[in-house]
């Protein structure tokens, strides 16, 4: 095999996620009455970026062979917090942004502490912390409301040079400044190793706990960024239980579409971004095809069902049945 084939093999999941997204987006644009205008791209990007942040958070935890069912609630909590503190003078706003991101990290770190040092199963631990985070969100915003620094909000959700959606640039910056350094760090490698084979990683003397803790904390940071972005997008904070649950569920779907293995060790947050955009596009497609709103939830479900089934089709080609069970 030549070098690029090894690269292809490493990036397979991410590339499949990209292909799924491009295919769906092409169909969407082809059928959109306006075609690919800067406006359409901006709207699609803003909605996609919201889920992309949450999906990246989910991907980090899934890579360690965990799952974070509280990720949507961190998203909601940081949204409610941002609607209080990201206001006022540039200095106050900056402090507010830092505060919101720190709150997200703290939530992620608590999850990490419970899973790593408390030795709880991620699925149940995050169900419980999710309830707590939602409760706090409800304390902050019993009723929808609040405000946000609108200049900043408009800048982040607007367009650069009139064409490029600013949210995409922001997302790319986060990938470059947070995700890539994490992946190339020892802690990041330990997080992958923990997901791939924890006993082997332990035997090799890897800093497993540090790696997993970093993954959970950075996941909290990403979810916090998502919550912040939601505030910029909606100008308000709202403790909506259904919305939090929905983001959690769709983040898992996005991670799968983006080629991250739910068994851990394989995939990347970049794949999760593509998965998130693909998942978002399904909703938009129903819109351009002018589907009766009553049918939309059903069709979304069916699309999701088909997408994950196609993802599993590879398993049918397995020639040794023992490979079914890993």
């Amino acid at each position: 095999m030549t070098e690029w084939r090894y690269w292809l093999n490493e990036q397979r999941g991410t590339l499949i996620g990209l292909a799924i997204f491009l295919m769906m987006f092409a169909v969407y644009i082809a059928n959109h009455p306006a075609g690919l205008t800067a406006n359409v791209a901006q709207t699609a990007a803003n909605k996609g970026v919201l889920l992309a942040f949450v999906a990246m958070a989910q991907a980090l935890v899934v890579i360690t062979a965990g799952i974070d069912l509280s990720v949507g609630m961190i998203f909601i909590l940081t949204n409610c917090l941002a609607s209080w503190i990201v206001v006022g003078s540039p200095l106050a706003t900056t402090a507010g942004v830092v505060g919101v991101l720190a709150a997200g990290m703290l939530c992620g770190a608590i999850n990490g502490l419970l899973v790593i040092y408390g030795r709880l199963q991620p699925i149940v631990a995050t169900i419980a912390t999710g309830a707590v985070y939602f409760g706090i969100a409800l304390l902050l915003r019993p009723f929808p409301g609040g405000s946000v620094n609108e200049d900043l909000a408009d800048a982040v959700t607007g367009r650069l040079f009139g064409v490029v959606p600013a949210s995409l640039v922001l997302l790319a910056a986060v990938v470059l400044l947070v995700w890539i350094p994490f992946r190339r760090s020892v802690a990041g490698r330990a997080a992958y190793a923990a997901g791939s084979s924890e006993p082997a990683a332990f035997m090799s003397g890897m800093p497993l706990r540090r790696g997993k803790f970093a993954a959970y904390t950075v996941a909290g940071l990403f979810a916090g960024m998502g919550g912040l972005f939601l505030t910029f997008f909606t100008y308000t904070g709202e403790a909506a239980y259904a919305s939090g649950g929905g983001y959690t569920l769709w983040s898992i779907a996005a991670v799968v579409l983006g080629g991250v293995s739910l068994y851990g060790g394989r995939g990347s947050a970049v794949g999760a971004i593509f998965g998130a955009f693909a998942a978002r596009t399904t909703g938009d497609m129903l819109f351009v095809f002018d589907v009766d709103p009553l049918w939309q939830p059903l069709l979304q479900g069916v699309v999701l069902l088909i997408a994950v089934s196609i993802g599993a089709a590879g398993l049918l080609r397995v020639r040794n049945r023992l490979e079914w069970f890993r």
């Binding site: 699925i123 631990a125 999710g130 309830a131 409800l138 332990f202 939830p297 089934s309 079914w324």
Partner: protein, 330 residues
């Protein structure tokens, strides 16, 4: 390591598995139930009255039925996230069937349960034969069920009221003083204990939960076992929904939303490993009662929703830290 003992095989008293497996987790869960009752009694003397306890058991029975199905799936090392809307589907379909002709009311309950079983079948086929992770496929079928119900009701809460038979099943009395829902839960519980401890199907579930590879190579049709467990889980979820509709006298959208997390929590607080293969049904019963009491106490204390969520989460974490921890790695 060297042999620790030799000689004839020790004859153990052959207690049913459900009791042999009573472990620290189950005892702790029951201990916590007593503690909650004690705390509750400080707030209100009604807390220890028979009426109140029966009322709690009745409320617990809906969760209990759902958690029974959830436990089967969790024992296999899977999870069923389609509970909320499968419950709603069961309830709505039962109410809908009651409106059809003279046979309708009689078939209402079976029809609702069959609808749930059908969703379970889809889940089971996908998990067992297509090897799609259960977390993903049940999430997708939940959305599909939701879509179907939204379509069916036209986006509004249906006016369907629960038929008499359904209401009787949930709130009537065969035994004076004991709501039928409790009896239904008790019957399902007996069936679960027998299934898990006395049948080869039950053994297969534990076997698959521990090592599906080994179970498959032992000649067990593991795919069928997994599929049936999901069908049972779907049917029991729908049945729980039917009972709930009888209790509330009507089926409503999102009526199942409040049952997903508690059903998982009840199974896990009862000592069943979320990774599968280990756990006793008795523990699940304890977990169900525990969660129901906790919710009841929080509402008796008139805590606002936000506080309830926080206390609920913190209590679950505290209890898990108490006994739900995986063994240390070295």
């Amino acid at each position: 390591m060297s042999e620790t003992s030799e000689g004839p095989v020790a004859m153990r008293t052959r207690l049913p598995q459900a009791f042999r497996r009573v472990d620290r987790a189950v005892l702790t869960a029951f201990g916590c139930i007593l503690l909650l009752l004690f705390i509750g009694s400080l707030y209100s003397s009604n807390f220890l009255s028979l009426d109140y306890l029966l009322q709690q058991l009745k409320v617990a029975s809906f969760l209990g039925v759902v958690a029974a199905g959830m436990m089967l799936v969790i024992l296999l090392g899977h999870i069923d996230l389609s509970v909320p809307w499968v419950m709603t589907t069961g309830a709505m379909m039962a109410c809908a069937a009651a409106g059809f002709g003279t046979l309708g009311p009689a078939l209402a309950i079976p029809f609702g349960v069959v609808c749930g079983a059908l969703f379970g079948l889809v889940n089971g086929l996908a998990v067992a034969y297509l090897r799609i992770p259960s977390m993903i496929i049940t999430l997708a079928t939940n959305v599909v069920a939701q879509g179907l119900m939204v379509l069916y009701t036209g986006g509004f809460s249906p006016s369907d009221s629960a038929p008499a038979a359904v209401r009787w099943l949930a709130t009537g009395h065969v035994v004076p003083g004991v709501p039928n829902a409790i009896l239904v839960w008790a019957l399902i519980s007996v069936a679960m204990v027998v299934l898990l401890s006395r049948t080869s199907y039950g053994r297969s579930i534990y076997g698959i939960g521990n090592s599906e590879r080994a179970a498959y190579l032992s000649g067990v049709d593991t795919r069928r076992v997994v599929m049936i467990a999901f069908i049972l889980s779907g049917a029991l979820s729908a049945f729980g929904g039917v009972l709930l509709a009888g209790y509330a006298s009507k089926a409503a959208q999102a009526m199942g939303d409040a049952y997903l997390l508690p059903s998982i929590a009840a199974v896990v607080l009862g000592g069943t490993s979320i990774l599968g293969g280990r756990g006793s049904y008795l523990g699940t019963v304890a977990g169900v009662i525990l969660i129901t009491l906790l919710q009841s106490i929080l509402s008796v204390m008139q805590m606002p929703e936000a506080g309830r969520q926080i206390v609920y989460g913190v209590v679950i974490i505290a209890m898990l830290l108490l006994y739900g921890r995986t063994p240390a790695s070295r």
